[in-house]
């Protein structure tokens, strides 16, 4: 049983290498290996359903053992990783066909999957960090395959990732200096015995690394660029899975290494939540609201979705940081849901880009008639994302709100709500500008995406319904996970939550069945009425003016310009500009610094003299500067 974890982890890596080598023979060999091994990993995951396998030692280093483990919490994330990766590979086959360096692409894709799987399976900090870095640079190579602009975006991504990872590195090294063992259990034991200052340092440094990956404001600036510039099939992987690794890390940090009680002891608790968690909650809430507002004002479809990801990951972090059973369950469930619907939306827009070649929303429109399947996918995606019943986003958002209400964190709740309402705005903008409205003349021959690209859309659409109506399916694992973390597991039913879990009970099945019955009734009424005839899109009201195909009679540029007038004052300052200013300052400073290498022999010789003097002097005063 222990060995099987190693097998699971090795699957994507082996698949990647085989796909790479197979690609040299024939492209279908490559595809077969890629699909086969990603599917294999996904299937292997189910052998670990609801099990806790600990401590498969796979190596030793510096006196610490390297351990793999799996528990229900990591299972959820491993499930997301393998599932979405599989779909991404399916989607890739048609989408990136004909590009250069495809063997390398699939290699990287499977390596990213393997690295993320490694993160979820890691049982000690060295393994965790190793796979974390591996994930960063392998995904970097995926991102920069998206064209010219993506290189800058990828550069930003890798720099920020590396900064985050190094921050985490310092935290890990601090622990290693004390514990000399980095197995999760020892780490939590050490932290429970350490001084508050040490724990806070650890928390902050480790947290920064996770926040960068989870794109919590103000460390989010890499995300909009990277997600929008990456190749279409990579964006779902980034948005759906990669940023979830941050959420997983936070869960492990908050409740694996530390615990609510322990964090509570670090600072006086006048608040409903321990201070550190409370700060995290506020950061999450701020990213919810600001990212939502930014998403509303975007013109680029993928950029819009990228900002939406920042906002939605805000909910995840908010839920996880809450510390209550319901909140954590909500956060984890939202992580799962977000992986489903955001990947779905990115797949859809990927298909649209594949067919039309643009992602500028003001150039698109009216694709519903040409790409109905994509439209249905987008519809499910936006309904799920906006948190409207009966799809899955509703349940998790509801849980987070109820948890906030339970803890009386009202201001956070207000922000979460506003973010959610704002989501209607940008999501409507997304679906309208792409699928509704006027079909531009140049896209009148656009076809639906090929079957392999439809498949992920169908599967994920179905999942939004499944998890929306039967949230108990997910709660089953999440409750196990909470038990594993030592938190009271959440009470749930298959269709919702009984009285006492939240402020009030919830039965999703009732809402959806009433909705469906009402729909059937109204549809019956509608069908009894005189039949309608279909008219062309140009037969539309234009105050008597005749609309011709040459006329662009569509509203899609500057969709919420009037709203922009209201909120623009907030965005005078941006974190991105600040970072760029820092980078520039560092660069200028560095440029001055390197002028010591003047290239003049006499300068260099004088350095020697100066140095001897200094060394002699320092030795004279005892050789001790400190």
């Amino acid at each position: 049983m222990d060995m099987s974890l190693g097998v699971l982890l090795a699957t994507p890596f082996v698949g990647g290498i085989l796909a790479y080598l197979g690609g040299k023979i024939h492209r279908w060999v490559r595809y077969t290996f890629a699909i086969l091994f990603s599917l294999l990993a996904f299937i292997e995951i189910f052998f670990f359903y609801n099990t806790t396998v600990g401590n498969y030692v796979w190596g030793r280093l510096f006196g610490s053992v390297l351990v793999l483990q799996i528990n229900p919490i990591s299972w959820i994330f491993a499930f997301i990783v393998t599932g979405i990766s599989f779909l991404v590979i399916l989607f890739s086959i048609n989408d990136v066909e004909g590009h250069k360096g495809l063997d390398f692409y699939y290699l990287e894709l499977l390596f990213v999957e393997g690295a993320m799987l490694g993160i979820t399976l890691a049982g000690d900090l060295i393994t965790f960090f190793m796979f974390w870095e591996l994930m960063s640079w392998t995904s970097y190579f995926l991102i920069i395959q998206g064209g010219k602009k993506s290189i800058t975006a990828g550069y930003k991504y890798i720099i920020m990732s590396v900064i985050g990872a190094y921050s985490m590195f310092v935290a890990i090294a601090m622990v290693f200096g004390r514990a000399h063992s980095l197995v999760f259990k020892n780490v939590s034991m050490l932290l429970s015995q350490s001084s508050p200052a040490f724990v806070i340092w650890f928390f902050v440094l480790f947290g920064i690394g996770l926040f960068v990956k989870a794109a919590v404001m103000p460390l989010h600036t890499w995300l909009p660029d990277a997600h929008s510039e990456a190749p279409s099939p990579v964006s779902p992987l980034l948005s759906g899975v990669l940023i979830k690794m941050g959420a997983y890390g936070l869960t492990v940090l908050f409740y694996g290494f530390l615990s609510v009680q322990l964090i509570g002891k670090l600072a006086p608790t006048i608040l409903p939540t321990p201070l550190l968690l409370y700060i995290v909650e506020w950061l999450a809430a701020i990213s919810i609201v600001l990212a939502t507002f930014l998403a509303i004002l975007q013109e680029d479809a993928k950029r819009l979705l990228a900002y939406s990801s920042i906002s939605q990951i805000g909910y995840v972090v908010l839920g996880i940081a809450m510390g209550s059973s319901l909140g954590i369950a909500g956060g984890l469930f939202h992580a799962l849901n977000h992986a489903i619907f955001k990947s779905l939306l990115f797949f859809v827009i990927g298909g649209v880009i594949y067919r039309t070649g643009t992602r500028n929303m003001s150039e698109l429109g009216g694709l519903i008639k040409k790409m109905p399947v994509s439209f249905i996918g987008a519809l499910f995606g936006i309904v799920a994302l906006s948190g409207v019943p009966p799809l899955n986003g509703f349940v998790s958002k509801w849980m987070i709100y109820e948890a906030l209400l339970q803890k009386k964190e009202v201001f956070l709740l207000i922000m979460a709500f506003v973010g959610s309402t704002g989501a209607f705005l940008y999501l409507y903008r997304f679906i309208h500008s792409v699928f509704l409205g006027q079909l531009p003349e140049k896209y009148k021959d656009v076809k639906e995406v090929p079957f392999l690209m439809q498949l992920p859309i169908w599967i994920l659409s179905a999942l939004t319904i499944v998890f929306g109506i039967w949230p108990g399916l997910a709660m089953n694992v999440i409750a196990q996970g909470e038990k594993f973390l030592g938190i009271t597991p959440i009470k749930y039913t298959l269709y919702g939550f009984p009285q006492g879990t939240a402020m009030s009970s919830l039965k999703v099945i009732n809402i959806s069945s009433v909705l469906i019955i009402a729909f059937i009734v109204v549809l019956a009424l509608y069908l009894m009425l005189p039949k309608e005839r279909f008219v062309s899109q140009y037969d539309t009201y234009a105050a008597g003016q005749v609309v011709t195909p040459e006329t662009k009679y569509n509203y899609s540029y500057g969709f919420y310009m009037f709203f922009g007038r209201v909120i623009n004052p907030i965005f005078k300052w941006s974190a991105d500009k600040m970072y760029e200013a820092w980078a520039r300052a560092t660069k200028v400073f560095g440029d001055y610094m390197r002028r010591v290498y003047t290239g003049n022999l006499e300068t260099y010789s004088s350095y020697i003299v100066v140095l001897i003097t200094i060394v002699a002097f320092v030795l004279l005063i005892g050789g001790k500067l400190w």
Partner: protein, 495 residues
């Protein structure tokens, strides 16, 4: 039966062959170029023979003239030396294979002589147990390096060579002064003996000689204010020489400093201010590298940075720190040598040293680009490559004690790693993802130039996925070094 596990052979064989080249050149003509390969092949054999001995006993000592150590020049190979000798010989061997194709310019035989002498000098410097011998080895290394840097005899090479020469000879003089001062104080030149005798001295009495030796070796070892020759000299030299200079020569000089500081002066826990040198070297090297357009110059600056990194790790003064330093030395030697060799091949094909001209290399010279990438990853310390483990160790060693200083050190080290990652990623972007402006006919480098790089990359990969033996070995080496008695006692009382 002659026991070939004798460290003296390490010096003797290549010296002999170096003179053989000079002698045989008129007859062998082109065939001369195979002599260094044979020489270092033999050396490699010797080193492999030495390995089990050193692993068993911790140290192997050889003496000359049959007199016991304090009075005779002796050669001692302990774990640390073995570590470096192995790398030096390996690099010497591989690079001399590389030279078979790479060196076309005349006078080739002089190049081969100098090259052989260079590697010999480095090996000598590492294995010697005698301070004055170290000076001589230092000079052998330096002079051959001066010659090799100026080998192209063009504008840049001459200027760089001249700068290097002036700096180097000042350094040599300083080193000699230091050595002589020690001799005046103790009356012996044997390292172990000096170490024994110098124990009676007060801290301040030891100062001046140490300052001179440190500065002298520091010039060759590329410590911060003394390293200004390096970014000129390394790029000016032929790529194969650059890989030796960057890969092992600075490391050997740093080895000298380590040996002097720890074994002779026993200063390693006292003079923590050496950390400053490490950090400054790191900072200036990496920052300057970030701005370079010329790839060899960038790599040269990166060498300065790496040297700073492992010197910093060494000057932490703990066993773990030294372990990290040794690992990083190894990583740097292998990776940087690979980089220079690969870049040499690329420049050979592209005909330019400007990074921007490398656009599209990733497609046309797949193997070279791949080797470059692996070596660069290892140098940057990306997992799962070997550099990751060494960097991990360095950071762990720094944070054994958590205080404001160590945190600040770690921040600097990591920030500089970030800059390093930034410029290497930039190069790789250009190589792999930028389209070439004009379609030039670029062919893969000749096989003989790739084989050494491939070998090195294979070694890196093996170490990456199976680092445990090396890590343990480095730990033992560090422990031996810090527990000075092993060295001193076995040299003085041994045999």
């Amino acid at each position: 039966m002659v026991n070939i596990a004798n460290p003296i052979l390490l010096i003797a064989i290549p010296l002999l062959f170096a003179f053989l080249i000079a002698v045989l050149a008129p007859w062998l003509k082109k065939g001369v170029k195979y002599i260094p390969v044979i020489a270092f092949g033999l050396n490699l054999l010797v080193v492999f023979e030495l390995i089990p001995d050193v692993l068993d006993n911790g140290i192997v000592i050889a003496t000359t003239a049959g007199i016991k150590p304090p009075f005779a020049i002796n050669v001692a190979v302990d774990r640390l030396s073995l570590f470096l000798v192995l790398i030096a010989t390996l690099l010497g061997f591989l690079v001399s294979i590389y030279n078979l194709v790479y060196i076309k310019e005349e006078p080739a035989e002089k190049f081969h002589i100098l090259f052989t002498l260079l590697v010999t000098g480095i090996t000598w410097m590492i294995v010697t147990g005698d301070l004055f011998n170290m000076f001589v080895a230092f000079e052998v290394t330096s002079i051959s390096a001066f010659g090799l840097v100026g080998f192209h005899r063009d504008k840049d090479a001459a200027e760089a060579g001249f700068k290097y020469l002036v700096m180097g000879s000042i350094g040599a003089s300083l080193l000699l002064i230091g050595v002589v001062m020690l001799y005046a104080a103790t009356g012996t030149l044997n390292m172990a003996d000096i170490a024994e005798k110098i124990m009676r001295f007060t801290f301040k009495q030891k100062l001046l000689p140490y300052a001179f030796i440190f500065t002298g070796l520091g010039i060759e070892g590329a410590l911060f204010p003394l390293n200004a020759w390096l970014p000129d000299a390394h790029p000016a030299a032929p790529s194969s020489v650059s890989s030796i200079l960057s890969g092992i020569m600075t490391t050997a000089a740093i080895y000298g400093i380590i040996r002097v500081t720890v074994t002779i002066f026993n200063y390693y826990q006292v003079i923590l201010f050496l950390i400053l040198f490490g950090l400054l070297t790191l900072m200036f090297g990496e920052t300057a590298a970030f701005f370079q357009k010329d790839i060899k110059r960038m790599l040269a600056y990166s060498t300065i940075g790496q040297t700073g990194l492992f010197f910093y790790a060494f000057s932490l003064g703990s066993i773990n720190g030294m372990q990290g330093a040794f690992l990083q030395m190894m990583n740097h030697s292998l990776a940087k040598a690979t980089l220079f060799l690969v870049v040499g091949g690329i420049i050979f094909s592209v005909g330019s040293r400007n990074i921007d001209d490398f656009a599209g290399i990733g497609r046309k010279m797949k193997l070279s680009a791949f080797l470059f990438a692996i070596a660069a990853f290892s140098l940057m310390g990306l997992p799962p490559f070997f550099g990751f483990w060494s960097k991990l160790k360095i950071i762990f060693a720094t944070l054994e004690r958590v205080n404001v200083y160590t945190i600040a050190f770690v921040v600097i080290v990591l920030f500089m790693s970030l800059i390093e990652a930034a410029y290497f990623f930039r190069v790789m972007q250009v190589m792999f993802f930028k389209e070439a402006k004009e379609e030039k006919e670029v062919r893969e480098a000749p096989a003989w130039m790739l084989i050494p790089a491939i070998t090195l990359v294979v070694i890196i990969l093996v170490l990456s996925f199976y680092p445990t033996p090396v890590i343990n070995f480095a730990h033992k080496a560090a422990a031996d070094l810090v527990g000075r008695s092993v060295y001193i006692n076995s040299v003085l009382g041994g045999l």
